[in-house]
């Protein structure tokens, strides 16, 4: 699909699935795109676990051969895929279409500015229970599309998971819903490695 065709499709409600890794996604992406990292081994399973079946999807993956494989894999898993953006972000920007950024912070920055964020942990319940960032709220990565009642909506959200794959997905969904969101690159692995405080249990 051309950039214009993709734009039109999104205006009709299609969701762009940006399948690049979190870092390039965060740097710039098609406005409203949802980050869902590509691989062949378990793309279908991860999608089945957490991607709504009732959306029409447009694939953004680079380079084009990856997008073609992604379309096939998602089709086979029962998703409705309208097409893929040919030429990727380069083509999108060449068509003078806007891009959006997802702010990226590391665990040190999060620690320093913790009071200014509402931390949202996107892991499974038992992972959260085992250890989470103080005052974090749990929003399992399999459920981000439902209305999310933040514990404290006045603060910007900081999304976290084990590293940053699940949190990037949820962060992009939050951003899509108009919420002020940042992605914590390095996640709980880095937080714990630094020896930063950890809370246990589910309140």
């Amino acid at each position: 699909m051309t950039p214009q065709e993709v734009r039109e499709a999104t205006q009709e409600g299609a969701v762009v699935l940006d399948m690049r890794p979190p870092k390039p996604f965060a740097k710039e992406h098609i406005p409203g795109a949802v980050n869902f990292q590509f691989n062949r081994a378990d793309l279908a399973e991860r999608a089945e676990l957490s991607l709504p079946q009732d959306n029409d999807y447009v694939i953004h993956a680079e380079p084009d051969p990856i997008a073609k494989v992604a379309v096939k894999l998602l089709h086979e898993a029962g998703f409705t895929v309208v097409g893929f953006l040919e030429g990727g972000l380069k083509a999108w920007k060449a068509a003078n279409l806007p891009v959006e950024e997802l702010p990226l912070i590391d665990v040190d920055q999060l620690k320093d500015g913790l009071d200014g964020y509402q931390v949202v942990d996107t892991r499974e319940r038992f992972e959260f229970k085992f250890g989470h960032i103080p005052h974090a709220t749990l929003l399992e990565w399999t459920e981000p599309w439902a209305a999310f009642e933040a514990a404290d909506d006045s603060k910007p959200l900081a999304l976290v998971c084990g590293d940053q794959v699940r949190s990037s997905y949820v962060a992009s969904v939050m951003q899509r819903a108009g919420k002020q969101t940042s992605l914590v690159f390095g996640g709980m692995v880095d937080w714990i490695e630094r020896g930063y405080p950890v809370e246990k249990g589910v309140s």
Binding site: D42, R46, E124, F126, E127, C161, G162, D163, M188, I192
Partner: protein
């Protein structure tokens, strides 16, 4: 540290978070109590995923380490749950 001898190996390399624990869970269900499952993973989130999973399921995470190509290796001993 004594050499751990695994009963079975699950190659979860290339799988993205949290699929390594999803697969490990499935695999260990078909094993006997006392048997050891060795899991290879490349997803960095596994570092916190596996300890949490072991704590939640009651299985014993015996040891884990990171190899120099960033492959993570976990040894989990199946502990039978008492109902």
């Amino acid at each position: 540290m004594a050499q751990v001898q695994e009963t079975k190996t699950l190659d979860a390399r290339g799988l993205l978070c949290p699929m390594p624990i999803v697969k490990a869970n499935k695999e260990i269900k078909g094993m006997e109590a006392g048997e050891v499952l060795k899991i290879l993973a490349t997803d960095r989130g596994s570092i916190v995923d596996f300890p949490a999973w072991a704590d939640d399921t009651g299985h014993e995470l015996m040891e884990w380490h990171e190899e120099d190509d960033k492959t993570l290796v976990f040894y989990v001993r199946k502990v039978e749950e008492e109902d």
